[in-house]
């Protein structure tokens, strides 16, 4: 459980980091909190030539409000965002979901952008990104581009990020008046990757439900908010089947579908209540 040898770069400037990524592309890996990358290195699942450690790039460790969005820089840890005093007002879904991300100790290291860039289908933060309709700011030596979360997350551990790009920040829309949110998750133990995670946002016109842990990436559905109970159950049942659940070591496909139906329902009801 020792990594293959690699070079290590801790750049002083963002340009230096981007230059290294531009030069080595897929042979370089960005190291932020390392909560996924370090085990993958130690298990030799990845064997990069170069690690680019962005942890000391001061400008990336900031959370800012920009144009009605919460902009979270690449080096911002999960703990840093979770303890932001205004988070519950700005983005209550993130406030509800962050305690489910790993453990207290791992949140001190793990970053928001790192989790989204890693794109584990069970992870909570990509789920929140999609539920909220957020986007991802990608930066390379040749410039900056902004991609919606929906276009960014392609599948299991797969994103729209090019090899020369760095996830510079992610942007979450701020809470809109009249919206109720809820987050629920079932994992085998607290802190494990979700078997199924649900995020619900109920607005005056529609219900938005995002489900993680079932398909290759989190998936979102929207329904009119005046949908009756039976229709909602029908809709959840259809969603449950559409996600294409499969059996794995921890849970059966059927169990995952059942959670989509049952926990999805509970999550929506909770979001409705918190709205009222």
């Amino acid at each position: 459980m020792k990594p293959a040898s690699f070079d290590y770069l801790r750049p002083e400037t963002l340009d230096e980091a981007l230059a290294a990524l531009g030069e080595l592309g897929g042979d370089a890996r960005v190291l932020a909190g390392g909560q996924s990358l370090m085990p993958m290195l130690n298990m030799r699942l990845v064997q990069p030539q170069l690690l680019v450690d962005i942890g000391r790039l001061a400008g990336l460790a900031e959370v800012r409000l920009v144009d009605g969005r919460l902009m979270v820089g690449a080096a911002v840890t999960q703990a840093q965002l979770a303890t932001r005093p205004t988070l519950a007002a700005e983005a209550p879904l993130l406030a509800a979901a962050l305690p489910w991300v790993g453990h207290y100790q791992t949140r001190n290291r793990g970053t928001i952008c790192g989790s989204i860039a890693h794109a584990d289908p069970s992870a909570e933060l990509p789920l929140c990104l999609l539920a909220l309709g957020g986007d991802v700011v990608l930066r390379s030596a040749s410039g900056r581009r902004i991609v919606s979360g929906d276009d960014f997350l392609l599948g299991v551990l797969s994103t729209d990020r090019r090899d020369d790009e760095l996830v510079e920040a992610v942007r979450f829309p701020l809470r809109q008046g009249g919206a109720g949110i809820a987050f629920r998750e079932v994992a085998q133990r607290h802190g494990d990757f979700a078997i199924v995670a649900c995020a619900a946002i109920v607005r005056p016109a529609h219900i938005r439900l995002a489900i993680g842990g079932v398909a290759g990436r989190p998936m979102v559905r929207e329904w009119p908010s005046d949908l009756g109970d039976d229709s909602l159950d029908d809709a959840l049942n259809a969603f449950a089947w559409e996600l294409g659940a499969v059996d794995d070591l921890h849970a059966s496909a059927r169990y995952r579908r059942e959670l989509v139906r049952r926990m999805g329902r509970r999550t929506i009801e909770e979001a409705r209540q918190c709205r009222g």
Binding site: S231, F239, R254, Y255, R266
Partner: protein, 812 residues
């Protein structure tokens, strides 16, 4: 049994912790090694079953920093097959020779300047395999059509024995009712935080292998290792480190790696160090056995069990590594549990499959046996419409019957099971829990109560494993029995007392308890006693029974230290009697002084009297041996070899545990919430209640793990699926509630201090107690562990809703 002293029985704090908590622990990996030591990495099989056609190490050897690569060639030249506990020729070497039989089996060892380079070199070894069909399920492995692991043996069933005690057939023929159950106990492991560590150094000048390993015993494996290395026992010097990062039995499984690294150091001509990492540990250390059990009871209408039949199929994985099939026979004498059942029939089969070989794991055979037995008791209650607690009570061994000889030979030493149950029901609040169940069920919630009553055996009889042989085979092999514990107490010239014992502690606090025991004998304080429990087979007293297993420390080792200290005390009393002009029987020891009873002013300091044998041996009473150092070996005479009728008193002492619990289940998610857990222990005399409660909490946590989370999973094709702690789920503080711990003390008449073992009980009782509660909540008979949320939901949730052709909500 000694009278109560000032320290034994008190919850004094652990002497070990000051060093451990300030980073001064000395674990195997911390200890210095020679500067020329090489670091080993092991190439392991990706295949569950395959012939090895060729191994090419040339590219690995060319990598700078690589000193040697060890394969089957060196291992077969410099070592022998391991001896095996059954008659069949099960070819088992320190690494794979012709064939690999499980994923993770060692194939080659790279020795390099550091571990990084060694792991780089592993990727350059080319192995040509011819994959073979694998078999994972023991029932399939036992069938005639199954692929064979050992073609020369002819069957994967490598041992089969049947036993009859009393007249079970007659009882079953006449029975009012019979109740039967088949259970499939899964594979799990106790996963200590520290992996295996071996530092091996072969000295060609005197032909000695000098090995430091975090081995925990049983030292019956020392002759197994020495024979595999083709040396007499005195040419394998085995040393253990001062501190351990836990074992729970698992460190026993380091022994094949001791042999492997010993061979490697001989080939390299340099010391070799290997530290097992977490990935290696899960795939390649040792696991508990999985077992298929069909159990059947002949029952009277009132729930009294007249006879039992056991049919056990034990899955030991790919090889039968010593001391297997001990897991199957450890509980043999007490297969009737805590119950006064007189007639018993047993069929035991041992099967090999393409999985990790099995070995010691806390509970060792108990979780498997009690899962079947206590599930059966619950089923008897359900099928006869009786109260499950009443069924337990009606069958318990009555308190006047001790010592009670169970039909298969266990001599249950002491106890009062009825009182223990009554006290637990009262003090644990069973009535309130039943009312709660009723109230919650009335609200439509899903709530159940489970029970388990078990005996917890301790101090294994070294002869129990020979029950796997027929009486005729045993006659040829010669009798095996007993369980020698040893302890040494020494006095230095300033009167300082030092204790050594061959107990190889794995974190339990043996030093603390031994200091309490010896302090009381000499009237000293525990902190004045030095206890050193490192073991060196070339310098220290030990026997094949030495080591840390079968919960033998408190009943056997601590008792033996007491006996050794007592011998020195008797001599010190004679010396003091002469100096104080009183009779030796009138001498007392307290507060660092030795004095005349009734006249405390007629006294000398302990250190003065204790130093006498060093400073002035000429003044000792004539004919008296000096009071310098005493080593005692103790084995309980009750541990006899198996009888001609296969009766075996498999352990020296038998504690009693009665657990009950309440669980609530979420119907939507299948989540089990342990609402309340009560565990009553009678482990004889308690030497340190703080440490006893620690043992109970740890065993309980592992019991919760086995019940709800843990399974070493293999695919049908033999692929290993639980390779990391993201797959093999160990409960954390979030998942383990605080149990209500209750105690009773019925001293053992057979151990020097009246203590019984307490280290493994909840590993045995908790999984089945929780399973019984879930069975009660759901009203189902088939309960399989671990009770994952997905599996529990499947027990609750009926037919699944079909995919609708088109749901309205999506037609926007």
């Amino acid at each position: 049994m000694p009278e109560e002293g000032p320290y034994v029985g008190r919850p004094i704090e652990r002497l070990e912790d000051a060093a451990l908590l300030t980073g001064r622990g000395r674990y195997a990996d911390d200890l210095p090694v020679r500067p020329d030591t090489l670091h080993a990495a092991i190439l392991r099989s990706p295949h569950p079953h395959a012939d090895i056609l060729a191994i090419d190490t040339s590219a690995a050897l060319k990598l700078p920093g690589v000193a040697a690569v060890i394969t089957r060639e060196e291992v077969t030249k410099l070592s022998s097959r391991f001896v095996v506990g059954v008659k069949q020729a099960l070819d088992c070497w320190a690494l794979a020779v012709d064939r690999v039989r499980y994923v993770g089996e060692p194939i080659a060892v790279v020795l390099a300047e550091d571990r990084y380079v060694a792991e780089d070199a592993l990727e350059r070894i080319a192995v040509e395999y011819r994959p073979l069909a694998a078999v994972v399920d023991p029932r399939a492995a036992a069938s005639a059509e199954s692929p064979r692991l050992f073609p020369a043996v002819g069957s994967n069933v490598v041992s089969e024995r049947t036993f009859v005690y009393g007249e079970p057939d007659g009882q079953f023929a006449a029975a009012e009712r019979t109740v039967a159950l088949t259970v499939d106990y899964p594979r799990n492991s106790c996963t200590p935080i520290e992996g295996y560590v071996v530092v091996a150094d072969y000295n060609p000048a005197d032909g000695v292998y000098d090995v430091l390993a975090n081995f925990q015993g049983p030292f019956s494996l020392h002759p197994v290792m020495a024979r595999a290395l083709n040396v007499p026992g005195n040419r394998l010097r085995l040393r253990t480190p001062p501190d351990s990062g836990g074992s729970f039995g698992v460190k026993q499984g380091v022994f094949p790696y001791v042999v492997l690294m010993a061979v490697a150091s001989r080939v390299a001509g340099r010391p070799v160090k290997w530290v097992e990492d977490r990935l290696e540990h899960l795939v390649g250390s040792v696991s508990a056995t999985n077992r298929v059990i069909r159990i059947e009871a002949a029952v009277a209408a009132d729930g009294v069990v007249k006879a039992m039949r056991w049919d056990q199929m034990e899955d030991c994985g790919a090889y039968l590594r010593a001391p297997e099939p001990a897991t199957l026979y450890r509980m043999h004498g007490n297969l009737t549990g805590a119950y006064a059942i007189r007639h018993l029939a047993v069929k035991n089969r041992v099967v090999v499959t393409n999985k990790l070989p099995t070995g010691l794991n806390r509970g060792f055979g108990g979780p498997q046996v009690y899962f079947a037995l206590e599930r059966l008791m619950q089923r008897i209650a359900v099928e006869l419409r009786l109260d499950p607690l009443e069924v337990i009570r009606r069958n318990l061994v009555p308190h006047h019957a001790f010592p009670h000889r169970a039909p298969a030979g266990a001599l249950l030493d002491s106890g009062d099971y009825q009182t223990a149950v009554a006290r637990a029901v009262e003090e644990g609040g069973l009535d309130a829990l039943r009312k709660k169940r009723e109230a919650l069920r009335a609200e439509g919630r899903c709530y159940g109560i489970g029970f388990a009553a078990i005996v917890e055996p301790s101090v294994s009889n070294m002869g129990y494993i020979t029950t796997v042989m027929t009486p005729g085979e045993r006659r040829k092999a010669g009798p095996k029995n007993g369980a020698h514990a040893t302890a040494t107490v020494a006095i230095d010239p300033l009167g300082g007392v030092t204790v050594h014992a061959a107990s190889t502690p794995q974190g339990q606090g043996h030093r603390t308890v031994l200091s309490q025991v010896v302090a009381d004998v000499f009237g000293l304080k525990p902190e004045e006693i030095r206890v050193n429990l490192e073991l060196d087979t070339q310098k220290d007293a030990w026997s094949i029974a030495s080591g840390n297993y079968s919960s033998r420390f408190a009943p056997a080792v601590a008792g033996t230290a007491y006996l050794a200290a007592q011998r020195l005390r008797e001599r010190l009393a004679r010396i003091a009697a002469q100096q104080l002009n009183v009779r030796p029987e009138d001498i007392e020891f307290a507060d660092g002084k030795i004095f005349a009873r009734g006249n405390p002013d007629n006294a000398a300091s302990f250190s003065r009297i204790a130093g006498t044998s060093h400073w002035a041996p000429g003044t000792l009473p004539s004919g008296m041996a000096p009071a310098l150092r005493d080593t005692v070996f103790w084995t309980p005479p009750q541990l006899e070899a198996p009888s001609e009728a296969d009766e075996i008193n498999s352990s020296a002492a038998y504690g009693f545990i009665f657990d009950f619990c309440g669980v609530e289940i979420d119907r939507d998610t299948g989540t089990i919430r342990i609402d309340k857990y009560v565990t009553m222990h009678d482990a004889g005399r308690i030497l340190n209640p703080r440490l006893v409660d620690g043992q109970i909490r740890g065993g309980f946590a592992q019991g919760v793990g086995a019940a709800l989370y843990e399974k070493l999973a293999y695919g049908d094709d033999g692929a290993f699926l639980s390779g990391t702690f993201a797959d093999y789920l160990v409960p954390t503080a979030c998942e383990v509630p605080d149990p209500v711990i209750l105690h009773m003390e019925t001293p053992s008449p057979f151990t020097p201090l009246g203590a019984k073992g307490v280290g493994e009980g909840n590993n045995m009782s908790t999984p089945v107690c929780l399973a019984n509660a879930v069975a009660d909540a759901l009203g189902v008979a088939e309960i399989a562990l671990p009770l994952t949320k997905s599996r529990v939901a499947a027990l609750i949730q009926g037919e699944e809703r079909a995919p609708a052709p088109r749901a309205r909500g999506l037609q926007r």
